[in-house]
Protein backbone atom coordinates (compact mmCIF):
# COMPACT_ATOMS: atom_id res chain seq x y z
CA UNK A 1 0.00 0.00 0.00
CA UNK A 2 2.92 2.31 0.44
CA UNK A 3 4.65 1.75 -2.86
CA UNK A 4 4.06 4.39 -5.48
CA UNK A 5 2.56 2.76 -8.55
CA UNK A 6 2.50 4.55 -11.89
CA UNK A 7 -0.80 6.27 -12.63
CA UNK A 8 -3.67 3.94 -13.49
CA UNK A 9 -1.34 1.00 -13.70
CA UNK A 10 -3.44 -2.00 -12.76
CA UNK A 11 -1.22 -4.92 -11.88
CA UNK A 12 -1.92 -7.96 -14.04
CA UNK A 13 -3.61 -10.78 -12.12
CA UNK A 14 -1.41 -13.49 -13.54
CA UNK A 15 2.12 -13.47 -14.77
CA UNK A 16 1.53 -16.04 -17.50
CA UNK A 17 -1.04 -15.71 -20.23
CA UNK A 18 -4.12 -17.71 -19.14
CA UNK A 19 -4.17 -19.50 -22.52
CA UNK A 20 -0.82 -21.24 -22.13
CA UNK A 21 -1.66 -22.18 -18.54
CA UNK A 22 -4.90 -23.81 -19.64
CA UNK A 23 -2.95 -25.73 -22.28
CA UNK A 24 -0.67 -27.14 -19.61
CA UNK A 25 -3.69 -28.02 -17.47
CA UNK A 26 -5.24 -29.98 -20.33
CA UNK A 27 -1.96 -31.70 -21.07
CA UNK A 28 -1.69 -32.80 -17.42
CA UNK A 29 -5.23 -34.21 -17.50
CA UNK A 30 -4.53 -36.06 -20.74
CA UNK A 31 -1.33 -37.56 -19.33
CA UNK A 32 -3.18 -38.67 -16.20
CA UNK A 33 -5.90 -40.35 -18.29
CA UNK A 34 -3.25 -42.07 -20.37
CA UNK A 35 -1.55 -43.42 -17.27
CA UNK A 36 -4.91 -44.61 -15.96
CA UNK A 37 -5.67 -46.44 -19.23
CA UNK A 38 -2.23 -48.06 -19.18
CA UNK A 39 -2.61 -49.25 -15.57
CA UNK A 40 -6.13 -50.57 -16.25
CA UNK A 41 -4.83 -52.48 -19.30
CA UNK A 42 -2.36 -54.27 -16.98
CA UNK A 43 -5.33 -55.48 -14.88
CA UNK A 44 -3.76 -54.38 -11.62
CA UNK A 45 -6.05 -55.32 -8.72
CA UNK A 46 -9.04 -55.29 -11.06
CA UNK A 47 -8.67 -51.53 -11.68
CA UNK A 48 -11.41 -50.40 -14.09
CA UNK A 49 -10.48 -48.19 -17.04
CA UNK A 50 -11.92 -44.75 -17.75
CA UNK A 51 -14.41 -46.15 -20.25
CA UNK A 52 -15.87 -48.63 -17.77
CA UNK A 53 -16.18 -45.88 -15.20
CA UNK A 54 -17.83 -43.57 -17.72
CA UNK A 55 -20.27 -46.34 -18.58
CA UNK A 56 -21.18 -46.79 -14.92
CA UNK A 57 -21.55 -43.03 -14.57
CA UNK A 58 -24.04 -42.98 -17.44
CA UNK A 59 -26.01 -45.79 -15.76
CA UNK A 60 -26.04 -44.01 -12.42
CA UNK A 61 -27.12 -40.75 -14.03
CA UNK A 62 -29.84 -42.51 -16.00
CA UNK A 63 -31.25 -44.20 -12.88
CA UNK A 64 -31.11 -40.88 -11.02
CA UNK A 65 -29.08 -42.44 -8.20
CA UNK A 66 -26.10 -40.16 -8.77
CA UNK A 67 -28.24 -37.03 -8.47
CA UNK A 68 -29.92 -38.25 -5.29
CA UNK A 69 -26.56 -39.03 -3.70
CA UNK A 70 -24.84 -35.86 -4.87
CA UNK A 71 -27.71 -33.68 -3.76
CA UNK A 72 -27.85 -35.38 -0.36
CA UNK A 73 -24.14 -34.71 0.12
CA UNK A 74 -24.17 -31.15 -1.17
CA UNK A 75 -27.18 -30.30 0.98
CA UNK A 76 -25.44 -31.54 4.12
CA UNK A 77 -22.32 -29.58 3.31
CA UNK A 78 -24.21 -26.40 2.52
CA UNK A 79 -26.27 -26.53 5.69
CA UNK A 80 -23.28 -27.34 7.90
CA UNK A 81 -21.07 -24.82 6.15
CA UNK A 82 -23.73 -22.09 6.34
CA UNK A 83 -24.31 -22.60 10.06
CA UNK A 84 -20.58 -22.87 10.74
CA UNK A 85 -19.79 -19.67 8.86
CA UNK A 86 -22.72 -17.74 10.32
CA UNK A 87 -21.47 -18.60 13.79
CA UNK A 88 -17.79 -18.16 12.99
CA UNK A 89 -17.90 -14.65 11.54
CA UNK A 90 -19.52 -12.95 14.56
CA UNK A 91 -17.42 -15.04 16.95
CA UNK A 92 -14.25 -14.07 15.07
CA UNK A 93 -15.27 -10.41 15.13
CA UNK A 94 -16.02 -10.55 18.85
CA UNK A 95 -12.64 -12.13 19.53
CA UNK A 96 -10.78 -9.62 17.42
CA UNK A 97 -12.61 -6.57 18.73
CA UNK A 98 -13.12 -7.27 22.43
CA UNK A 99 -10.42 -8.51 24.74
CA UNK A 100 -12.96 -10.18 27.03
CA UNK A 101 -14.42 -12.21 24.16
CA UNK A 102 -10.94 -13.30 23.15
CA UNK A 103 -10.21 -14.37 26.71
CA UNK A 104 -13.45 -16.35 26.97
CA UNK A 105 -13.49 -18.04 23.57
CA UNK A 106 -9.85 -18.58 22.76
CA UNK A 107 -9.14 -21.57 25.06
CA UNK A 108 -12.08 -23.51 23.62
CA UNK A 109 -11.31 -22.72 20.02
CA UNK A 110 -7.62 -23.52 20.41
CA UNK A 111 -8.50 -26.78 22.16
CA UNK A 112 -11.13 -27.99 19.71
CA UNK A 113 -8.91 -27.02 16.81
CA UNK A 114 -6.49 -29.74 17.81
CA UNK A 115 -9.23 -32.41 17.74
CA UNK A 116 -10.05 -33.57 14.21
CA UNK A 117 -13.81 -32.99 13.78
CA UNK A 118 -14.12 -36.61 12.66
CA UNK A 119 -13.01 -37.69 16.12
CA UNK A 120 -16.24 -36.14 17.38
CA UNK A 121 -18.37 -38.54 15.34
CA UNK A 122 -18.71 -41.30 17.97
CA UNK A 123 -19.67 -38.76 20.60
CA UNK A 124 -22.02 -36.98 18.23
CA UNK A 125 -23.79 -40.24 17.45
CA UNK A 126 -24.20 -41.06 21.14
CA UNK A 127 -25.70 -37.68 21.90
CA UNK A 128 -27.45 -36.80 18.67
CA UNK A 129 -28.52 -40.20 17.34
CA UNK A 130 -27.82 -41.57 13.89
CA UNK A 131 -29.97 -39.18 11.85
CA UNK A 132 -28.99 -36.14 9.87
CA UNK A 133 -28.10 -34.05 12.93
CA UNK A 134 -24.74 -35.59 13.93
CA UNK A 135 -23.47 -35.45 10.35
CA UNK A 136 -24.40 -31.80 9.93
CA UNK A 137 -23.00 -31.09 13.38
CA UNK A 138 -19.58 -32.47 12.48
CA UNK A 139 -19.53 -30.51 9.23
CA UNK A 140 -20.59 -27.35 11.06
CA UNK A 141 -17.82 -27.83 13.58
CA UNK A 142 -15.21 -28.34 10.86
CA UNK A 143 -16.06 -25.19 8.93
CA UNK A 144 -16.62 -23.13 12.08
CA UNK A 145 -13.16 -23.82 13.50
CA UNK A 146 -11.42 -22.84 10.29
CA UNK A 147 -13.51 -19.72 9.63
CA UNK A 148 -13.40 -18.35 13.16
CA UNK A 149 -9.60 -18.27 13.26
CA UNK A 150 -9.37 -16.63 9.87
CA UNK A 151 -11.93 -13.94 10.72
CA UNK A 152 -10.19 -13.26 14.01
CA UNK A 153 -6.84 -12.89 12.24
CA UNK A 154 -8.46 -10.48 9.80
CA UNK A 155 -9.89 -8.28 12.53
CA UNK A 156 -6.71 -8.02 14.59
CA UNK A 157 -4.73 -7.42 11.40
CA UNK A 158 -6.68 -4.30 10.38
CA UNK A 159 -4.21 -1.50 9.69
CA UNK A 160 -4.04 0.77 12.74
CA UNK A 161 -3.57 3.79 10.48
CA UNK A 162 -6.94 3.20 8.82
CA UNK A 163 -8.67 3.08 12.18
CA UNK A 164 -6.91 6.28 13.25
CA UNK A 165 -7.85 7.96 9.97
CA UNK A 166 -11.49 7.05 10.54
CA UNK A 167 -11.35 8.36 14.10
CA UNK A 168 -9.93 11.70 12.97
CA UNK A 169 -12.80 11.92 10.48
CA UNK A 170 -15.26 11.70 13.36
CA UNK A 171 -16.09 7.99 13.30
CA UNK A 172 -17.03 6.30 16.58
CA UNK A 173 -16.54 2.63 17.44
CA UNK A 174 -19.73 1.45 15.72
CA UNK A 175 -18.93 3.23 12.45
CA UNK A 176 -15.31 2.08 12.54
CA UNK A 177 -16.47 -1.47 13.00
CA UNK A 178 -19.03 -1.38 10.19
CA UNK A 179 -17.15 0.76 7.69
CA UNK A 180 -13.49 -0.09 8.39
CA UNK A 181 -13.07 -3.36 10.27
CA UNK A 182 -15.66 -5.38 8.34
CA UNK A 183 -14.49 -4.45 4.83
CA UNK A 184 -10.82 -4.63 5.82
CA UNK A 185 -11.24 -8.18 7.13
CA UNK A 186 -13.36 -9.30 4.18
CA UNK A 187 -10.41 -10.92 2.34
CA UNK A 188 -9.60 -12.94 5.47
CA UNK A 189 -13.22 -13.97 5.95
CA UNK A 190 -13.41 -15.18 2.37
CA UNK A 191 -10.17 -17.12 2.69
CA UNK A 192 -11.63 -18.64 5.86
CA UNK A 193 -14.81 -19.53 4.01
CA UNK A 194 -12.87 -21.24 1.24
CA UNK A 195 -10.80 -23.32 3.64
CA UNK A 196 -13.93 -23.88 5.72
CA UNK A 197 -15.77 -25.23 2.72
CA UNK A 198 -12.85 -27.53 1.96
CA UNK A 199 -12.89 -28.77 5.56
CA UNK A 200 -16.66 -29.26 5.43
CA UNK A 201 -16.48 -31.22 2.20
CA UNK A 202 -13.69 -33.49 3.39
CA UNK A 203 -15.50 -34.14 6.67
CA UNK A 204 -18.72 -34.98 4.86
CA UNK A 205 -17.68 -38.21 3.20
CA UNK A 206 -16.33 -39.65 6.41
CA UNK A 207 -19.52 -38.62 8.19
CA UNK A 208 -21.54 -40.37 5.52
CA UNK A 209 -19.61 -43.59 5.82
CA UNK A 210 -21.48 -44.07 9.07
CA UNK A 211 -25.13 -45.00 8.95
CA UNK A 212 -26.31 -42.84 6.07
CA UNK A 213 -29.16 -43.84 3.76
CA UNK A 214 -27.94 -41.83 0.82
CA UNK A 215 -25.03 -39.64 -0.18
CA UNK A 216 -21.79 -40.15 -2.06
CA UNK A 217 -19.97 -41.57 0.95
CA UNK A 218 -22.78 -44.02 1.59
CA UNK A 219 -22.80 -45.01 -2.12
CA UNK A 220 -19.07 -45.79 -1.96
CA UNK A 221 -19.46 -47.91 1.12
CA UNK A 222 -22.23 -49.92 -0.52
CA UNK A 223 -20.11 -50.35 -3.64
CA UNK A 224 -17.18 -51.52 -1.56
CA UNK A 225 -19.30 -54.35 -0.14
CA UNK A 226 -20.09 -55.57 -3.70
CA UNK A 227 -16.56 -54.95 -5.00
CA UNK A 228 -18.07 -52.45 -7.42
CA UNK A 229 -14.94 -50.43 -8.23
CA UNK A 230 -16.58 -48.52 -11.08
CA UNK A 231 -19.16 -46.97 -8.76
CA UNK A 232 -16.46 -46.06 -6.26
CA UNK A 233 -14.60 -44.23 -9.00
CA UNK A 234 -17.73 -42.43 -10.17
CA UNK A 235 -18.42 -41.28 -6.63
CA UNK A 236 -14.82 -40.18 -6.09
CA UNK A 237 -14.74 -38.16 -9.30
CA UNK A 238 -18.11 -36.60 -8.47
CA UNK A 239 -16.82 -35.60 -5.03
CA UNK A 240 -13.75 -34.02 -6.59
CA UNK A 241 -15.61 -32.17 -9.29
CA UNK A 242 -18.36 -30.92 -6.98
CA UNK A 243 -15.81 -29.72 -4.42
CA UNK A 244 -13.87 -27.93 -7.13
CA UNK A 245 -17.03 -26.31 -8.50
CA UNK A 246 -18.01 -25.00 -5.07
CA UNK A 247 -14.48 -23.69 -4.46
CA UNK A 248 -14.45 -21.92 -7.84
CA UNK A 249 -17.79 -20.34 -7.04
CA UNK A 250 -16.46 -18.97 -3.76
CA UNK A 251 -13.28 -17.81 -5.51
CA UNK A 252 -15.37 -15.87 -8.04
CA UNK A 253 -17.34 -14.24 -5.21
CA UNK A 254 -14.05 -13.48 -3.44
CA UNK A 255 -12.64 -11.78 -6.56
CA UNK A 256 -15.74 -9.65 -6.90
CA UNK A 257 -15.86 -8.58 -3.26
CA UNK A 258 -12.16 -7.76 -3.00
CA UNK A 259 -11.35 -6.10 -6.33
CA UNK A 260 -9.97 -3.23 -4.28
CA UNK A 261 -7.08 -5.31 -2.99
CA UNK A 262 -3.63 -4.69 -4.37
CA UNK A 263 -2.60 -8.04 -5.79
CA UNK A 264 0.90 -8.89 -6.80
Amino acid sequence: MMTAAPPSAVAPRRRRAPGSLLGLNLLAVALGLGLWIALAALHIAGLPGPLAVLQRAVELVASGALFVDTWASVRRVLIGFAIGTLLAVPAGFLMGWYGWARGLLEPYIQFFRTIPPLAMIPLAIVFLGIGEVPRVFVITLASFLVSVISTYQGVIGVDRVLINAARTLGAGDAVIFRRVVVPASMPFILVGMRTGLGAAWSTLVAAELIAAQEGLGHRMQQAQVYYDLETIFVALITIGLTGMAMDRLLLAIDKRLTVWQERR
Binding site: M1, M2, T3, A4, A5, P6, P7, S8, A9, V10, D159, V161, L162, N164, A165, A166, R167, T168, L169, G170, A171, V175, R179, V180, P183, A184, M186, T258, V259, W260, Q261, E262
Partner: protein, 279 residues
Protein backbone atom coordinates in the same frame (compact mmCIF):
# COMPACT_ATOMS: atom_id res chain seq x y z
CA UNK B 1 -11.86 27.84 -4.51
CA UNK B 2 -13.21 28.43 -1.06
CA UNK B 3 -12.78 25.73 1.53
CA UNK B 4 -15.63 23.30 1.76
CA UNK B 5 -18.19 24.29 4.34
CA UNK B 6 -19.69 21.79 6.73
CA UNK B 7 -23.44 21.55 7.15
CA UNK B 8 -25.84 23.66 9.21
CA UNK B 9 -23.10 25.46 11.09
CA UNK B 10 -22.15 22.27 12.88
CA UNK B 11 -18.61 23.54 13.03
CA UNK B 12 -18.66 27.31 12.96
CA UNK B 13 -15.02 27.84 12.44
CA UNK B 14 -14.40 29.92 9.39
CA UNK B 15 -15.33 33.32 10.76
CA UNK B 16 -12.66 35.90 10.25
CA UNK B 17 -10.67 33.69 7.99
CA UNK B 18 -11.82 35.40 4.82
CA UNK B 19 -9.32 38.18 5.48
CA UNK B 20 -6.61 35.87 4.15
CA UNK B 21 -3.14 35.33 5.51
CA UNK B 22 -2.00 37.94 7.92
CA UNK B 23 1.47 39.20 8.49
CA UNK B 24 3.68 37.44 10.96
CA UNK B 25 3.65 37.68 13.98
CA UNK B 26 0.18 36.33 14.68
CA UNK B 27 -1.96 37.12 17.63
CA UNK B 28 -4.52 34.38 18.24
CA UNK B 29 -3.20 31.07 19.56
CA UNK B 30 -4.72 28.10 17.72
CA UNK B 31 -2.80 25.06 18.93
CA UNK B 32 -1.22 25.26 22.39
CA UNK B 33 1.11 22.74 23.95
CA UNK B 34 1.27 23.75 27.58
CA UNK B 35 4.14 22.07 29.46
CA UNK B 36 3.25 18.82 27.73
CA UNK B 37 4.92 15.49 28.46
CA UNK B 38 4.26 12.09 27.01
CA UNK B 39 5.83 8.85 28.11
CA UNK B 40 4.92 5.26 27.41
CA UNK B 41 6.39 1.80 27.46
CA UNK B 42 8.56 0.92 24.49
CA UNK B 43 9.79 -2.67 24.30
CA UNK B 44 9.20 -3.03 28.01
CA UNK B 45 11.17 0.06 28.98
CA UNK B 46 9.76 3.43 29.96
CA UNK B 47 10.30 5.94 27.19
CA UNK B 48 9.82 9.69 27.34
CA UNK B 49 8.73 10.73 23.87
CA UNK B 50 8.08 14.36 24.80
CA UNK B 51 9.40 16.09 27.90
CA UNK B 52 7.75 19.26 29.23
CA UNK B 53 7.34 21.02 25.92
CA UNK B 54 5.62 24.35 25.48
CA UNK B 55 4.77 25.61 22.01
CA UNK B 56 2.04 27.76 20.53
CA UNK B 57 0.95 27.69 16.91
CA UNK B 58 -1.02 30.78 15.99
CA UNK B 59 -4.16 31.02 13.90
CA UNK B 60 -3.29 30.96 10.22
CA UNK B 61 0.33 30.08 10.86
CA UNK B 62 2.34 27.32 9.20
CA UNK B 63 4.76 25.64 11.58
CA UNK B 64 7.02 22.84 10.43
CA UNK B 65 8.64 20.37 12.81
CA UNK B 66 12.02 18.80 12.09
CA UNK B 67 14.37 16.76 14.22
CA UNK B 68 16.16 13.43 14.50
CA UNK B 69 14.10 10.27 14.80
CA UNK B 70 12.86 9.71 18.33
CA UNK B 71 12.55 13.43 19.04
CA UNK B 72 8.82 13.05 19.59
CA UNK B 73 7.53 15.13 16.72
CA UNK B 74 4.99 12.50 15.69
CA UNK B 75 3.95 12.06 19.31
CA UNK B 76 3.44 15.81 19.57
CA UNK B 77 1.21 15.77 16.51
CA UNK B 78 -0.71 12.71 17.70
CA UNK B 79 -1.47 14.54 20.94
CA UNK B 80 -2.88 17.48 18.98
CA UNK B 81 -4.86 15.02 16.85
CA UNK B 82 -6.19 13.35 19.99
CA UNK B 83 -4.76 9.97 19.01
CA UNK B 84 -2.40 10.01 21.99
CA UNK B 85 -3.04 11.34 25.49
CA UNK B 86 -0.38 13.45 27.14
CA UNK B 87 0.91 12.10 30.45
CA UNK B 88 1.44 15.63 31.73
CA UNK B 89 0.45 19.15 30.78
CA UNK B 90 -2.33 20.13 28.44
CA UNK B 91 -2.92 20.38 24.70
CA UNK B 92 -5.49 22.92 23.58
CA UNK B 93 -6.96 23.67 20.19
CA UNK B 94 -8.95 26.91 20.01
CA UNK B 95 -8.60 27.24 23.75
CA UNK B 96 -10.29 23.92 24.44
CA UNK B 97 -8.46 20.94 25.83
CA UNK B 98 -8.08 18.10 23.35
CA UNK B 99 -10.01 14.95 24.24
CA UNK B 100 -9.79 12.30 21.54
CA UNK B 101 -9.74 12.80 17.79
CA UNK B 102 -12.33 14.81 15.92
CA UNK B 103 -13.14 16.22 12.49
CA UNK B 104 -12.14 19.75 13.58
CA UNK B 105 -8.52 18.61 13.25
CA UNK B 106 -7.64 17.21 9.85
CA UNK B 107 -4.82 14.68 9.96
CA UNK B 108 -2.72 13.66 6.96
CA UNK B 109 -0.66 10.50 7.41
CA UNK B 110 2.49 9.58 5.57
CA UNK B 111 0.95 6.24 4.59
CA UNK B 112 -2.02 8.07 2.99
CA UNK B 113 -4.46 5.95 5.02
CA UNK B 114 -7.04 5.83 2.26
CA UNK B 115 -9.73 3.18 2.60
CA UNK B 116 -8.70 0.85 -0.23
CA UNK B 117 -12.22 -0.53 -0.75
CA UNK B 118 -13.68 2.93 -1.38
CA UNK B 119 -13.27 4.99 -4.53
CA UNK B 120 -11.60 8.40 -4.41
CA UNK B 121 -15.03 10.05 -4.20
CA UNK B 122 -16.22 7.71 -1.44
CA UNK B 123 -13.03 8.28 0.53
CA UNK B 124 -13.51 12.05 0.43
CA UNK B 125 -17.18 11.64 1.37
CA UNK B 126 -16.42 9.36 4.34
CA UNK B 127 -16.25 11.98 7.10
CA UNK B 128 -19.26 13.87 5.74
CA UNK B 129 -21.31 10.68 5.73
CA UNK B 130 -20.28 9.97 9.31
CA UNK B 131 -21.47 13.50 10.18
CA UNK B 132 -24.80 12.67 8.44
CA UNK B 133 -24.55 15.56 6.00
CA UNK B 134 -27.36 15.53 3.39
CA UNK B 135 -26.44 13.70 0.17
CA UNK B 136 -26.59 16.69 -2.20
CA UNK B 137 -24.37 18.70 0.10
CA UNK B 138 -21.89 15.83 0.30
CA UNK B 139 -21.75 15.63 -3.48
CA UNK B 140 -21.08 19.36 -3.76
CA UNK B 141 -18.37 19.37 -1.13
CA UNK B 142 -16.67 16.29 -2.53
CA UNK B 143 -16.69 17.78 -6.02
CA UNK B 144 -15.20 21.03 -4.75
CA UNK B 145 -12.48 19.31 -2.75
CA UNK B 146 -11.54 17.03 -5.63
CA UNK B 147 -11.24 20.04 -7.90
CA UNK B 148 -9.06 21.71 -5.27
CA UNK B 149 -6.50 18.91 -5.49
CA UNK B 150 -7.01 18.21 -9.20
CA UNK B 151 -8.50 14.73 -8.88
CA UNK B 152 -11.94 15.22 -10.49
CA UNK B 153 -11.01 12.91 -13.36
CA UNK B 154 -10.21 10.12 -10.90
CA UNK B 155 -13.29 10.41 -8.70
CA UNK B 156 -14.41 6.84 -9.39
CA UNK B 157 -10.96 5.23 -9.30
CA UNK B 158 -9.93 2.85 -6.54
CA UNK B 159 -6.85 3.92 -4.54
CA UNK B 160 -4.81 0.97 -5.82
CA UNK B 161 -4.85 2.48 -9.31
CA UNK B 162 -3.42 5.82 -8.14
CA UNK B 163 0.18 6.96 -7.86
CA UNK B 164 1.57 7.94 -4.47
CA UNK B 165 1.14 11.64 -5.16
CA UNK B 166 -2.47 11.17 -6.21
CA UNK B 167 -3.19 9.07 -3.14
CA UNK B 168 -1.88 11.82 -0.90
CA UNK B 169 -3.90 14.45 -2.79
CA UNK B 170 -6.97 12.31 -2.21
CA UNK B 171 -6.15 12.13 1.50
CA UNK B 172 -5.73 15.91 1.59
CA UNK B 173 -9.08 16.38 -0.16
CA UNK B 174 -10.63 14.05 2.44
CA UNK B 175 -9.29 16.27 5.22
CA UNK B 176 -10.38 19.52 3.50
CA UNK B 177 -13.90 18.12 3.08
CA UNK B 178 -14.39 18.36 6.85
CA UNK B 179 -13.28 22.01 6.80
CA UNK B 180 -11.01 21.46 9.83
CA UNK B 181 -9.71 24.28 11.99
CA UNK B 182 -6.19 22.96 11.68
CA UNK B 183 -4.29 20.60 9.43
CA UNK B 184 -1.90 18.20 11.12
CA UNK B 185 0.42 16.67 8.55
CA UNK B 186 2.82 13.89 9.52
CA UNK B 187 5.52 13.65 6.83
CA UNK B 188 2.82 13.78 4.19
CA UNK B 189 5.18 14.04 1.23
CA UNK B 190 7.94 11.84 2.66
CA UNK B 191 7.23 8.85 0.42
CA UNK B 192 6.93 10.85 -2.80
CA UNK B 193 9.51 11.59 -5.47
CA UNK B 194 11.19 15.02 -5.42
CA UNK B 195 9.21 16.43 -8.33
CA UNK B 196 5.81 15.44 -6.97
CA UNK B 197 6.84 16.71 -3.57
CA UNK B 198 7.56 20.22 -4.89
CA UNK B 199 4.26 20.27 -6.78
CA UNK B 200 2.30 19.28 -3.69
CA UNK B 201 4.16 21.84 -1.56
CA UNK B 202 3.09 24.60 -3.96
CA UNK B 203 -0.45 23.25 -4.07
CA UNK B 204 -0.60 23.24 -0.28
CA UNK B 205 0.62 26.85 -0.10
CA UNK B 206 -1.84 27.90 -2.83
CA UNK B 207 -4.73 26.53 -0.84
CA UNK B 208 -3.37 28.04 2.34
CA UNK B 209 -3.22 31.50 0.74
CA UNK B 210 -6.97 31.23 0.18
CA UNK B 211 -8.10 29.76 3.47
CA UNK B 212 -5.25 30.67 5.85
CA UNK B 213 -5.76 27.44 7.73
CA UNK B 214 -3.38 26.72 10.57
CA UNK B 215 -0.94 23.99 9.56
CA UNK B 216 1.40 21.87 11.63
CA UNK B 217 3.68 19.94 9.34
CA UNK B 218 6.28 17.27 10.20
CA UNK B 219 9.08 16.63 7.74
CA UNK B 220 12.57 15.19 7.45
CA UNK B 221 13.35 17.46 4.55
CA UNK B 222 15.03 20.66 5.80
CA UNK B 223 14.38 22.53 2.56
CA UNK B 224 10.70 21.60 2.67
CA UNK B 225 10.53 22.77 6.27
CA UNK B 226 11.91 26.21 5.37
CA UNK B 227 9.96 26.59 2.13
CA UNK B 228 6.57 26.08 3.77
CA UNK B 229 6.88 27.62 7.20
CA UNK B 230 6.55 30.85 9.09
CA UNK B 231 8.54 29.13 11.80
CA UNK B 232 10.63 25.98 11.77
CA UNK B 233 10.60 24.14 15.09
CA UNK B 234 13.71 22.00 15.56
CA UNK B 235 13.37 19.26 18.16
CA UNK B 236 15.94 17.15 19.98
CA UNK B 237 15.74 13.54 21.08
CA UNK B 238 16.13 11.58 24.32
CA UNK B 239 14.03 13.00 25.74
CA UNK B 240 11.99 14.64 22.99
CA UNK B 241 12.08 18.38 23.52
CA UNK B 242 12.15 21.73 21.79
CA UNK B 243 15.64 22.56 20.61
CA UNK B 244 15.35 25.75 18.61
CA UNK B 245 12.67 27.79 16.89
CA UNK B 246 13.84 29.42 13.66
CA UNK B 247 11.62 32.07 12.06
CA UNK B 248 11.52 32.15 8.27
CA UNK B 249 11.37 35.82 7.31
CA UNK B 250 10.39 35.29 3.71
CA UNK B 251 7.16 36.66 2.26
CA UNK B 252 4.36 34.58 0.75
CA UNK B 253 3.77 33.55 -1.96
CA UNK B 254 6.94 31.53 -1.87
CA UNK B 255 8.44 31.01 -5.30
CA UNK B 256 11.00 28.89 -7.04
CA UNK B 257 13.31 31.90 -7.25
CA UNK B 258 13.05 32.26 -3.51
CA UNK B 259 14.29 28.69 -3.03
CA UNK B 260 17.55 29.70 -4.68
CA UNK B 261 17.97 33.03 -2.88
CA UNK B 262 20.83 33.66 -0.50
CA UNK B 263 18.42 34.41 2.31
CA UNK B 264 16.63 31.07 1.87
CA UNK B 265 19.93 29.20 1.83
CA UNK B 266 21.06 30.98 4.93
CA UNK B 267 17.93 29.95 6.84
CA UNK B 268 18.16 26.46 5.40
CA UNK B 269 21.75 26.18 6.66
CA UNK B 270 20.73 27.42 10.07
CA UNK B 271 18.01 24.77 10.31
CA UNK B 272 20.38 22.11 8.99
CA UNK B 273 22.90 23.03 11.64
CA UNK B 274 20.28 22.87 14.37
CA UNK B 275 19.07 19.46 13.22
CA UNK B 276 22.37 17.75 12.54
CA UNK B 277 24.72 19.37 15.05
CA UNK B 278 22.82 19.41 18.30
CA UNK B 279 25.87 19.13 20.56
Amino acid sequence: MSPARPPEGARSLSEGRAAGPREHPFSTPKIEFDDVSCSFELKGEPFTAVNRLTLTVDDGEIVTLVGPSGCGKSTLMNMAAGLQDPSGGEVRVDGREVHGPGPDRGVIFQQYALFPWLTVRENVAFGLEVAKVPRTQIDDTVQRCLRLVGLEAFADALPKTLSGGMKQRCAIARAYAMDPKVLLMDEPFGALDALTRVTLQDQLLDTWRQDARTIMFITHDVEEAVYLAHRVVVMAARPGRLFKVIPVDLPYPRTEAMRLSAQFLQIRNEVWDAVYHQH
